[in-house]
Structure formats: structure tokens, C-alpha cells
């Protein structure tokens, strides 16, 4: 089986588990999600600089939020990993950095859209998720590095520029190009 078939199976698998949690409150399905994602959320939070014990605690809390708000989950609107990413990032901003809440209600599995957002809204299909992962793997090395420093270390453009000895303008244009490449993936376009 090719790696993208495996990934497509994974994406289907996790959203099926989540559907069962959402509709049937199935604890076994939830614990499968927990076993897979809790270590990943913990690793992400440690990468952002949270001490191990704090990362552990916040990962528990992130997964518990998924359980509590499961009834809002809609597999056609948001991937489970995207929802968990958003929860984990917000917990880090709230609890570790103790900064003001910047967007209210953004712990929902998808943004509660205003009346005009529907036409832009794109479903996050399994095919699109797999395509996105492939595009991340195929990014040019420097773009991949800048994307990782942004997401996994939460470094600002200026900090990245200083650390890598690159002009600020180059950091920004490389990130823009990376985003445009990856956006083709998330939009599900060729």
C-alpha cells in the first residue's frame, strides 16, 4: 500500500472514530483518539517551550475539550487534527504565555461563520488532507524550515530572520510562497 493510501485510510479512520464519539458518545473510540493524539499534542506544546509537566497537563485538557464539545464536530467541515491544533495553540497562548484571548470562540471545531463566509468555505476532504501532507513533504528545504520554525517554535519573522541570517523580506516572501503551494493542497485544487 502506498503512503498516500495509508494516509487516506488514517484520515477516514480518525473521522469515523470522531463521528462515533460525537453521535454515540463512544468512549472506546474516544480513547483510540486519545492514545494517538495526546502524545502528538504534548510534543507540539513542548516544542513551543512548555515544560514537560505543563505540556502533559495541557494535552489532557485539549483532549478533554474534544470530548466535551464532540457534538459540534462535523467531519465535512474540519479535520480532527486541525481542531486539536487550534485547541492546543489557544491553550498555549492562554496558559503558558498568559496573553489576552484574541479571537473569541475559536475552540470550536470550525469557525462559526458569519453570513458571508459560506461561499469561501471549503470542506476539508480526506483527499485534500492527504494532498496537503504530500505538498508539505515536497516543499523546498528552506520553505519547509521556515514553516516549521513558524508552527513548531512560534518564531516571528524577525526572529527567524535573525536566527538564519536572512533578510526579513526574504523570510516573508519564502513563507508566502510556501503558503501558496500548500494552499493549493488545502483548497483541493490541482
Amino acid at each position: 500500500m502506498s503512503s498516500s493510501e495509508t494516509q487516506a485510510r488514517d484520515a477516514h479512520y480518525w473521522s469515523a472514530q470522531m463521528e462515533a464519539v460525537s453521535q454515540l458518545r463512544d468512549r472506546d473510540c474516544f480513547m483510540r483518539i486519545y492514545d494517538h493524539f495526546a502524545p502528538r499534542v504534548r510534543l507540539y506544546l513542548q516544542g513551543l517551550g512548555a515544560p514537560e509537566a505543563v505540556a502533559e497537563e495541557l494535552a489532557q485538557e485539549a483532549l478533554l475539550r474534544v470530548w466535551q464539545r464532540a457534538s459540534l464536530y462535523d467531519a465535512t467541515r474540519s479535520g480532527l487534527s486541525t481542531w486539536l491544533f487550534r485547541i492546543a495553540r489557544n491553550l498555549h497562548i492562554d496558559r503558558v504565555r498568559r496573553e489576552p484571548r484574541w479571537v473569541p470562540m475559536d475552540d470550536e471545531p470550525w469557525e462559526p461563520d458569519g453570513d458571508d463566509a459560506g461561499e469561501f468555505s471549503s470542506a476539508e476532504s480526506h483527499v485534500a488532507q492527504v494532498d496537503l501532507r504530500n505538498r508539505i513533504e515536497r516543499l523546498p528545504a528552506i520553505q519547509a524550515r521556515l514553516i516549521r520554525m513558524s508552527y513548531f517554535e512560534a518564531k516571528s519573522h524577525q526572529e527567524i530572520a535573525e536566527e538564519l541570517g536572512m533578510p526579513l523580506g526574504t523570510v516573508k516572501s519564502s513563507l508566502r510562497r510556501a503558503f501558496q503551494r500548500l494552499q493549493l493542497g488545502v483548497r483541493g485544487q490541482a
Partner: protein
Amino acid sequence: MSPRHHLDQATVISFAAGALSPEMAAVAATHIEVCPLCRERLADAERIGGALLGEQQPAATDAARSAYLRGMMQELLAAEPQMQTRVLAARAEAAAKPVDPDALPRPLQPYFGASWRALRWRWMAPGVHMIRAAPRSGDTLILLKIAPGKSMPVHSHQGTELTQILQGAYDDALGHFATGDMADLDNQTEHQPVTAPGVPCVCVAALDAPLRFPGWLARKLQPLVGL
């Protein structure tokens, strides 16, 4: 009407990644609230975050510790009901709340309070009023109110500046910036905004370095403004 000037896509990535300072994030969020295009880009940037989160490969952990945490979670599941009705009711209530014309954009409220009327503007120069938020990180967050038809000093920036127009409009070499528009500028930009006639131009700006004014007047102004 949808805004015509947007956040740089590189800034959207930083916002999604939690890599902006709180001041920059407050200004970016103020734009995102009124901009469907940037909201969609933010959703895309968060999907990238989700994919990166999912593809991480955690190292093997302490088995006893993992079993303990797992047991804790199972106990919590039994104790914590899913929140369906409560959450949905709260959300419906929030959506039904009428928009208060005196309310500041929500992302700015932690810095400037909730009410336009309660703002205490400080006079800085003829036609220019300002409020500076209490410093939090190293960045600066200011509200600026500039009288209509006024020319600001030519200036450039050492770092990044995000400016969201809350009311009124201005023109500079980059174009016409109206209510809802975002000016996402870096140190390559030198500009001289001129406010449009009619109403004062009110904007909120986050800066990560002091402004640089090249002119004689501006040098006199700079210590007064304290930027």
C-alpha cells in the same frame, strides 16, 4: 463591503501558528473579524498546522506514566458530560446579541476597554490624538485619531507595522485605505499618509520597532509622540 487591503499571507501564517506578539495579534484579529478572505486564509493556515501536528512522530514515553494519564482521562470521561445543549445555547445567545455601535472591536477590548465613548484621547500634535496601550510585550500598540484632510510626516519603519483602519480613510503611495482595510508594512516602505476629507481617520497600529521620521518637523514631533 469586504476590505480591499489584506494581511500579508506570511502574517496569516504567523497568526495561525501563534507566532505574533499579542499586540500584533490583536490588530490582525481586528482585521480578520471583518475580512472574509483573510478568515478563509486563516482557516487554510490552521489546516496546515493540523497536518503538521498529525504527522509528528512522538518518541516512546514512560509506560507507567502514560497508563496513569490514560486512567485519569477515563475517569474524567465518566465525570464530564458532553456539553451539547449548553454550548449551543450560549452560542445562539451570542449570535442573537445586537451589535452595540459603541463597542470597540473585541480583540482590542483587553487593551483599550469596551467602549468608544469611554476612550481618553491624548492630544499629540495639531489634528492628531493617540492612546497607547499599557506595554505588555516589547511591541507597541496604539490607537490613532487623525483629523480629516491631514498630511502625516513622511516616515519609514525599522521593523513591522500592522495598521487596521477602524473609521475614515487615508491615501498614501500604496493606495487608498478605507475602513476595514489593513496596511501590513515592513522596513522597505516609506510613506506619507494623507487622511481623506470628511470624518477623522481612526486606526489601530502595532509596531515592533520605533518609527523613523526623516523630516525636521517629524524629528521635533517624535519625542512628543514618544514612539
